[in-house]
């Protein structure tokens, strides 16, 4: 019963962390592509 809250709290924690990490990763790969293009030209 109450353990639903426990699961929700732990899940929320990891959702927040993973969301932040994925913004870092997507920005990083996009920038890497951009710098490749810039170096080519």
């Amino acid at each position: 019963m109450k353990n639903g809250y426990l699961f929700a709290a732990y899940a929320a924690t990891w959702i927040i962390h993973i969301a932040y990490l994925s913004t870092i990763i997507t920005r990083y790969s996009r920038l890497k592509r951009e710098i490749e293009e810039l170096k080519k030209r």
Binding site: Y5, L31, L38
Partner: protein, 229 residues
């Protein structure tokens, strides 16, 4: 240096898994609150981690104001962002914990209220960084960081007195703590600190890459003013 990153990452993941095991299995069940109390092992270390990173932000901002080193500026930005992320975790897990225990989502508990104000201060810092452009951003942000950090003791003092005047339910309970619980708490703190360090490291690399790209664009437009991206 390149190899250290993934090695550290794996170590951190292992540590986090062990910490989770400690929190969910090894630590004894609390008497009054039951298993819901285990939120404590994520809630408190996140708070401590956020405070540490806000403190580093303060230090880096002072260094920047004195020495104007770009690395200090990047560290300040990174620590503020990661601090806000951990602070958000505290503010979300807090109410999730409060609800089954106290029946209400929010209580003007000293810790939760102070964390909220801290969150507001550092979100305003991040907004300043986003809304200002150009070379003056690091200086303005550093000045704001100093003011924000100086505000923190006032936040704690004022809310402490406010709470003693208007007593609220205390989250996390007071009193002594079972040594096995303390052990689980410290392991989780260590694990989350390592994790936070990894996140900061990644964000730092992202920021240096971003600045390199910006510089490359700037140089390119100088060399070839008619060319467009």
């Amino acid at each position: 240096m390149k190899r250290a990153f993934p090695i550290f990452g794996i170590l951190t993941a292992v540590l986090l898994a062990y910490a989770l095991y400690q929190a969910l299995v090894v630590a004894p069940t609390e008497q009054t609150m039951g298993d819901v109390q285990r939120i404590f092992y994520y809630h408190v270390p996140s708070a401590w981690t956020a405070f540490i990173f806000f403190f580093i932000n303060f230090g880096a901002s002072v260094v920047y104001l004195v020495k104007r080193r770009p690395a200090a500026d990047i560290i300040a930005l990174v620590c503020a962002e990661v601090g806000v992320v951990f602070c958000t975790v505290v503010l979300i897990t807090g109410p999730i914990w409060a609800r089954p225990v106290w029946g209400i989502w929010w209580t003007w508990d000293m810790r939760l209220t102070s964390t909220l104000v801290l969150w507001l201060i550092y979100v305003s810092y991040l907004l300043l960084r986003r809304f200002s452009s150009g070379g003056e951003t690091p200086v303005l942000a550093a000045a704001l960081a100093v003011l924000g950090a100086l505000c923190v003791p006032f936040v704690y003092f004022s809310i402490w007195f406010f709470r003693t005047q208007h007593p609220q339910p205390v989250m996390g309970g007071g009193g002594s703590i079972d040594p096995r619980m303390l052990h689980a708490l410290l392991i989780n703190w260590l694990a989350f600190s390592c994790f936070a360090f990894m996140v900061c490291w990644s964000r730092y690399r992202l920021e240096t890459l971003q600045r390199d790209v910006d510089q490359a664009h700037a140089l390119k437009s100088l060399r070839d003013p008619r060319g467009s991206r």
